[in-house]
């Protein structure tokens, strides 16, 4: 069972820890949480010295996969997004603030915009995400012909129903 990482985040509720992407000396520094609707949130711990502090952003699987595969930096997920800033003083309670990324004081952001560089250790998690977000580049004559830039999100139930009835499917 996933561990509870954050409770009662306004607008998000309970967040459970799904996967640690990078930890240092037992401290999860970059990790993924999920809410009760299985939405994913990318979290960065950017202070363990003065207090505990985290930046959290809701993230879709496509963007998360790009970060896991070092195609984008970790901070790229936060740009132009609504970010949840969480702070906790030693032994204190969690405090939450919602801020647009562009309004965050640069001193509150990670020192460097770096790549995760952990993909060799995260192959199982990457495969799990890929199974949930199947990316095909194909041609078909289905009734529901909805493509996003040549890719189709097969996690939507009605797409799966449509494809199950057809035999024309070419994987990229």
């Amino acid at each position: 069972m996933n561990e509870i990482f954050y409770e009662n985040i306004p607008q998000a509720g309970l967040l459970l820890l799904e996967q640690i992407l990078f930890s240092f000396e037992g401290i999860p520094m970059v990790f993924v949480c999920i809410d009760k609707e299985c939405n994913r949130y990318l979290c960065i711990c950017d202070d363990v010295i003065n207090e505990e502090a985290w930046l959290i952003v809701k993230i879709d699987d496509n963007r998360l996969l790009r970060i896991l595969n070092d195609e984008d930096t970790v901070l790229s997920a936060f740009r132009d997004q609504k970010v949840i800033i969480v702070n906790r003083e030693a032994g204190g309670e969690f405090k939450y603030n919602f801020v647009d990324y562009c309004e965050i004081d640069p001193d509150e952001l990670p020192l460097c915009d770096q790549y995760l560089e952990m993909k060799e250790y995260l192959t199982e998690y990457i495969d799990k995400l890929k199974r949930q977000f199947l990316i095909y580049n194909f041609t078909f004559d289905l009734e529901y012909n909805m493509c996003y830039n040549g890719y189709l999100d097969l996690s939507e139930k009605h797409y799966l129903e449509g494809i199950a009835n057809k035999s024309i499917l070419y994987a990229a």
């Binding site: 990078f22 037992g26 950017d46 509150e108 952001l109 020192l111």
Partner: protein, 156 residues
């Protein structure tokens, strides 16, 4: 003969035996470590569990594992650098701020974590269980390796 009674008092006695079985004295092993408070003092050589208590954080690791009581260090500065770069830039505006220090794993027992845990995700992580009353020697042994400035660049 290994020194049985000189490891940290916060380590449960049954785990002391396990540490002695796994660790060995490696005085010529060169390692890197993050000094979070920017100083080379006793606090910066605390084991993970002890440090968590000192910082009043919640310890999330398994207390039945010997790694929870070690002082973490690394064979290269790569891991420490990555950690520092995720910390907020403002932490590097004031002095002292987190730095990377280096030295040899004297005065204790150490083990490459991957020897004990083959699928441990960091192949450069070393567990170092430091003998009690050794900190004066460690403070002399370790030196500053890298000092990040606010832009993430080193001052070396």
């Amino acid at each position: 003969m290994k020194k049985v009674n000189k490891l940290s008092t916060c380590i449960p006695p049954d785990l002391v035996e396990e540490i002695i079985r796994n660790g060995r004295e490696q005085d010529d092993q060169h390692v890197y470590r993050v000094a979070k408070r920017g100083k080379i003092d006793n606090v910066e050589f605390m084991g993970s569990y002890e440090e968590t208590l000192y910082e009043k954080r919640t310890f999330k690791e398994d207390l039945s594992l010997i790694g929870s009581y070690s002082t973490s260090c690394y064979l290269t500065p790569k891991g420490p650098r990555k950690f520092l770069r995720f910390l907020k830039a403002g932490l590097f505006k004031t002095y002292p701020h987190p730095i990377i220090i280096h030295g040899n794993t004297i005065c204790g027992l150490s083990q490459l974590t991957k020897e004990r845990i083959p699928d441990y995700p960091d192949k450069e992580h070393v567990d170092w269980w430091i003998y009690q009353d050794s900190f004066d020697k460690l403070i002399k042994e370790f030196k500053v390796f890298e000092d990040f400035n606010q832009k993430g660049l080193t001052n070396e």
